[in-house]
Every structure is written in C-alpha cells, then in structure tokens.
C-alpha cells in the first residue's frame, strides 16, 4: 500500500513538472544566450534624462556594486530604496552575476526591475565570463555610455581589461566624453575596476589615471574589491578627485551620493 502510494505520488510529481511550466525545466546547458534585446540601459537612460533639469540642482543617487549571487540582499536593497523618496536613480558598479549566465541575469533583473527609480549598470569582470558579454548586451545594452543629469555628466566605462582581451578601457573614448568639462557642474565616472587595481600594470594604470586627472572628474566610483574605501587626491590645478570603492551589497550596505554645487558627499547606509 505504501509503495503503491509512493509510486502514485512520484508519477503525479513528474507529470505535474512536465505539465506545469515544463518548457523552462528542460535545460540544455547553463550557457544559453538571451535572445532578443531588452534595452534596459536605453529605457532607464530615457527615464533619467526625462527627469533631468537643464540647470544644476542638488540631488542624490544611490550606488552599489558586486551584487553577484547575493539575491536576498539585492532584493532587500530594492525594498529599502523603494521606501525612500530622495533618490533620483541607482547606479550599479558591475558584477551583477557570478558567471555571466543567462539565468543569473534573469534572476537579478527580476529583482532590480521592481525598483521604482531608474537603475543603470556598468559591466563587471564576472558579468563578462562565458557568454556573459552577449547576455549583458541582451539584458542591458552597450558597455560604454554616458548621460547628463542636472548638469552633471556621468560616464559609464567598461574597465574589464582581461575579459576583453586588453581592448578596454577605451581611453580615447573616455577622453572624448570628458572633454567638454566646462559644460558641467561635476563629472562622475562609474566603472567596475578602478585605476589602482593590480590588473593595470604600471603604464596602463598611469594612462587611465592621467585621463581621469586631466579633466574635471569629481568622483571615480568603482566596485570589484568588495570593500568600501574612499580617498581624495588634490590635483595640481587645485581641484580634487575622489576615488570610491563602493563595497558589496553582501555587507547589507549601500552608498548614497549627494551632489551639491560645492562638492560631493558620500554616505554609507545600512539596509
């Protein structure tokens, strides 16, 4: 009797699995590439730019990085940000996934799409593994882009040199984007790997830094190290460049950046 019940239950379970959403249960590999183009970057850029004022007005944005496979904490972050009404948008400094898998991108965007504010991302080195570059493009869009919000220029830079066969960061593109610094109150660079990382051997690092210092960049916001660090460097022209390593959402914390005419304030807040 027991065995008969067990068999009936097993058969019912298998049949249920086959009948309910069975198509998604038959995985052919973990390395599938997302079909189509979901254009999240373009959609959220449009929302940010539509909300932007033509002149400078102080504002706040939230910053996180290295959300990796910390889905529970990412979900918590979404809930916290949705309760706030003083944040213009969220920036994520890369490593949204561990292995660049389509399923990982799907899980993460399922969570992030619940945000009521727009969000924009930089690609991280983990996001570019396996078929991650193609998946990133399908879920989000391009790797390098820029936008302006309240007369502050944001430049999002792909700095994952090893994963892109040392063809990035595209310093000529970065230079061109930062060139019109006189038009903006501040210029902020969002990237995954900061210029002081070990992977940039001396000369590329110097070139990377030279471009950042050459123009009026107020803040370089990076991820990658899973640590929260902040430093400032006075430049010879009297300006200051700030380097922020955001830290990971795993630590149940995020950063709020307050942009004011006189400068930028960094606050680390806990979930």
């Amino acid at each position: 009797m027991l065995i008969s019940s067990a068999i009936t239950t097993a058969k019912a379970t298998v049949l249920s699995l086959l009948l309910v959403g069975c198509e998604n249960l038959f995985d052919y590999s973990p390395y599938s590439i997302e079909s189509g183009s979901q254009q999240r970057t373009a959609i959220h850029l449009s929302r940010v730019e539509n909300a932007s004022l033509p002149h400078f007005e102080p504002f706040r944005f939230a910053l996180t990085a290295d959300t990796h496979a910390y889905y529970d904490q990412a979900d918590q972050l979404v809930h916290v940000l949705n309760q706030r009404h003083d944040i213009a948008f969220l920036l994520i400094a890369g490593d949204l996934t561990d292995y660049g898998l389509q399923q990982e991108y799907q899980w993460k965007t399922d969570i992030l799409d619940n945000l009521t504010i727009p969000y924009l991302t930089a690609i991280g080195n983990h996001d570019a593994l396996n078929n991650g570059k193609e998946n990133y493009q399908a879920f989000f869009g391009g790797f390098d882009y820029s936008f302006v919000y309240n007369q502050v220029k944001f430049v999002v830079l792909n700095s994952n040199s090893w994963e892109f066969a040392n063809t990035v960061p595209r310093l000529d593109w970065l230079q061109a984007e930062l060139d019109n610094d006189f038009l903006y109150q501040h210029q902020i660079v969002l990237t995954h790997i900061g210029p002081y990382d070990q992977r940039f051997t001396s000369q590329p690092s110097q070139d990377y830094l030279a471009v950042l210092k050459q123009y009026f960049v107020s803040l370089v916001a990076a991820g990658h190290d899973h640590l929260h660090t902040y430093s400032e460097e006075a430049l010879s022209n009297g300006q200051t460049i700030s380097y922020l390593t955001t830290g990971t959402v795993k630590d149940s914390a995020y950063v709020v950046v307050t942009v004011e005419s006189g400068g930028i304030r960094i606050d680390r807040e806990h979930l």
Partner: protein
C-alpha cells in the same frame, strides 16, 4: 572543430555498438546499453553508452549537442553520469520501477568557457569549464521479452552554480527556477 569531431565520433561509436549487438550474436558489445537523452544540461539531445556493475551501480558516458537556434550559440558537451539504483519499488509482468540518485560530471567545449587565461585561482569553482550536477531519477524498465528490457527514465537535477545560488538565497529564488528535467531511453545491447 574538435567538439564537432568528438560529437560525430560518439555517434559512430553508439551506432557501431548497436551494430555489434544486432549483427553478431557471438560478439560481446563493449557496453551494456545505448543511451539517448533529452535535456538535463547535456544538450538538446545526447547519446552514449551505459555500463551496469552489480545490482545498484551504472555509468553513462554521453556526448550532446544543442543548436544555436535554441541556445543562442552551438553547445557541444560531454558528460559522465554515475547512478546508484535503489532496490525496485515495484516489479510486475509489465515493468520494473526503480528510483536512483546520481552525480553528473559535465564538460562544455569552447575556449570561452575556459578560465585558463587568467591568473591561477582568480576564478574558482564553479567558474570552470566543467560542472557537477546531482540528480534524482526514476526508471521504468520493460519486462516484456519483445521489448528486450528497454528502459525509460526521467531525472530532476540542479547544476552546481544554481545549487549554490539557491542554497544562499532562500528568500528570493524559487526551487523551480533552479532545477532541470531530463528524459531518456536506455536500450540494452545484450
């Protein structure tokens, strides 16, 4: 080219074994069964050979393929599966039903899945080109002499990367997002 060659070679091997089984009664086939499987992270379809040791252990070697039209990129895969079969749940004149558990070692061909160009230890398991996948299966074997002991099976498994994610994220990930199913048939060569 290597993955395609291996895949074709595996298919030829399967056909040769089947030929030995059917064409020459005195020859001993090199395997106990021919396996065909759908899904289970072994491609859209995979084929290979099976060996049984004693009453409880069996091993399957499979080569699989999934086309670009389904996965966005051609997938070439090879895998080894080790099954431990529990005693039959039920056995009657028609079928014998057995539940089993197993572990698959799965290797995906293609340089883009390799981490060997990075410093040693920079990317760690399960970032590798190979993966492990535990699973549970149920197998129905025909006892009808006319069907020569053909078995149908289905397996429910979780590949290592998803298993780790699921283990660490009970609040946000649903179990049906992590698991996968496969269907297969095992044809005896004896």
């Amino acid at each position: 080219m290597v993955p395609k060659s291996l895949f074709v070679a595996a298919q030829i091997l399967v056909l040769w074994c089947a030929g030995v089984a059917h064409g020459n009664e005195s020859s001993r086939p090199i395997a106990d069964s021919v396996i065909f499987q759908h899904a289970g992270n072994m491609g859209f379809v995979s084929a290979g050979l099976g060996w049984q040791t004693g009453a409880h252990l069996e091993v399957h070697l499979l080569a699989g393929y999934a086309p670009e039209s389904l996965e966005g990129i051609d997938i070439y895969v090879a895998g080894a599966k080790a099954n431990y079969l529990f005693n039959p749940l039920v056995s009657n004149e028609q079928t014998t039903t057995r539940v089993y558990t197993g572990l698959a070692f799965i290797y995906y061909f293609g340089n883009r899945y390799s981490t060997r160009d990075y410093p040693r230890g920079y990317y760690t398991y399960p970032s590798y080109q190979w993966h492990l996948m535990p699973y549970l299966g149920i197998k129905l074997t025909s006892n009808d002499p006319a069907q020569r002991g053909v078995s149908l099976y289905t397996e429910i498994g979780v590949i290592d990367a998803y298993l780790i994610h699921f283990y660490n994220n009970h609040q946000t990930l649903e179990w049906d997002q992590a698991i996968n199913l496969s269907l297969g048939v095992s044809i005896p060569l004896h």
